[in-house]
Symmetry: C2
Subunit: 348 residues, 2 copies
């Protein structure tokens, strides 16, 4: 079964152009000197023969794939997409391709090592860091902790969580719940730490985290439990905006008021869709996280030593109305508090 390619190789091109394969390679890679005449003939032959070089052969010869791998757990919601876009964009600028591997439910062992054999370096999402193994390739872990010797990039978590939690406590909320699976990702655990610390600093005791996944439906479930009285709280610190938004929507639907009955805050600020009240959240530089990861991989492949300390990107607390703060006047609340997907009106 002869498959990829049309059988046209650098040899066919060379023959057709009446030059050697070395010359063909030179014009194609734009390396070395080539006479104008030879160049034109080669280009012509390439055109006529529909020549598509074999990336594999080139990679083998230069011993480099010019491709970086990216391992993500999934792609639901804007967070991962944003990360991926940041990564792909920067990789593209560096002239590198990207191979994507999605965690899903499947066993990652084989897919991961296959990936490793096809790329020069790999960016692994925090929660999946366990899959790294003794990867021979340079690796950077993004949004999470890494084993010693492996570089890690992450957004600040503990302090932001502390600040966010304290903000809620300062609002007089006393029964705060942390919504997110602390075992799923190191990031979430760190946020819970900040959550706990903020409580302790005020001589309070933080409740155990409510373990849920990142997606919207998981938020719904929490809302239902709240409504059912299974859970009680006057403030919810959610692991991401999707969950926060879902909870808010469900709660509001059921007639509860956010933030009057319960404050809800999230994380990421990647939901371009805004709601009323605006969601107070921690803005993370997600795109930048991905771009930086690609950058670091590039340097590691270039021979740079891995950084010993985690690269922590700053985050920003974005106060809107869902925490109980007075929302900015140019975002009027409706008389019938109801949740909509929307964007703040234009500031004029």
């Amino acid at each position: 079964m002869r498959v990829s390619g049309n059988g046209v190789t650098i040899y066919s091109v060379a023959e057709r152009a009446g030059v050697s394969i070395a010359t063909v390679s030179r014009v194609l890679q734009d390396s070395g000197v080539v006479s104008e005449r030879a160049r034109r003939q080669v280009l012509e032959a390439v055109e006529e023969l529909d020549y598509v070089p074999s990336g594999a052969a080139r990679s083998l010869a230069v011993r480099q794939h010019d491709t970086y791998g990216l391992l993500l757990p999934e792609l639901s919601g804007p967070y991962y997409s944003e990360l991926l876009v940041g990564f792909e964009t920067r990789a593209g600028e560096l002239g590198r391709g990207v191979m994507l591997l999605l965690g899903g439910a499947r066993d990652l062992a084989k897919p991961f090592s296959t990936l490793a054999s096809r790329v020069d370096a790999i960016c692994v999402f925090g929660g999946l860091a366990a899959h790294i193994g003794r990867s021979t390739r340079p690796v950077v872990v993004v949004a999470g902790g890494a084993p010693p010797g492996v570089e890690a990039i992450t957004a600040e978590n503990v302090d932001s969580a502390h600040e966010l939690t304290d903000h809620l406590l300062a609002h007089g909320r006393t029964r705060l719940l942390f919504v997110g699976d602390t075992t799923a990702a190191p990031d979430v655990l760190e946020r819970y730490e900040g959550f706990t610390q903020a409580h302790e600093d005020r001589g309070l005791r933080a409740a155990e985290p409510v373990h849920v996944e990142f997606r919207e439906r998981d938020g719904i479930v929490v809302a239902e439990r709240l409504l059912a009285g299974d859970l009680a709280a006057d403030g919810l610190v959610c692991c991401n905006d999707e969950v926060a938004l879902a909870i808010m929507a469900r709660l509001t639907d059921a007639g509860m008021d956010v933030p009057d009955d319960v404050a809800v805050v999230g994380w990421d600020d990647v939901m371009t869709a805004r709601v009323r009240p605006g969601l107070t959240t921690v803005r993370q530089p997600v795109h930048q996280l991905g771009a930086l990861a690609a950058d670091r991989l590039h340097e590691l492949v270039g021979g740079a030593p891995p950084r010993a300390t985690r690269h922590v990107l700053p985050t920003e607390l974005v106060i809107r109305g869902s925490c109980g703060c007075e929302e900015h006047a140019d975002r009027p609340r409706r008389s019938h508090p109801q949740t909509y997907l929307s964007t703040p009106p234009p500031r004029k």
Copy 2:
């Protein structure tokens, strides 16, 4: 600059294991017969040396990359992500990797041919079909039309658009506007066709399309124009849910009622976030679209001839409340009896 890999090759492994490279290859590929003893020794050597095979060398030898390419314009919103996930998942099941290329603003010519040199086949998103060129690799175009000889997969558009439009017309809406850039993607053009036909079938004349892009902010702009009186309509057929939702939100924010003042319907049904009123939309099998694309690529690479006719996947009209229909009662609207935190509902 020696980069990827740790210098361990199949030769090192063979030497360490005391066998020939052929045997090493056999156990690694699990092909041919190998004695239990040899297998164990090879595996051991692999482990000890941290051997990572060179994908490039393998690809060159077998003359196949075992990788498919995917060219998408961007990754905003759930549509592309869903497509990507469908594609990646199926490719993974087929034991193939995926290389992703995002259109972005950059010039695709070089990135595309680089991609072509690294994969066995490419899936191209409809709007980007122009980039195909005379690609030597098998190609399938997804969500759009393809040049002759190139296979295409798409969701049904014309009929669904007809049905959706007619539904609005049947509601007595007479001043319908089609919101979407008909020049951006073949899919959108087809939907506008259905829109036009539905009008003609009732002896009406369809308005010119309102050209906007797919994203939320583009929807906002349309809403603003509507509010400013720059545009007038009692029904909006939007090219996707994001735009529809954004319009709805902005309009509602400004005090207009959907659907009473203006009906708004969308496309895709990929917004998991629900709003009130529920968005009437056309559900597309996006995940399946991606999966099918991967499947087809696989067959094409396997030597199957490209299908001459477009593969059209059925869609489904999902009626909710935004078109003016009475909404289904499976989720209580705000005016319904409400549940409070302090009062657990009777069930259970």
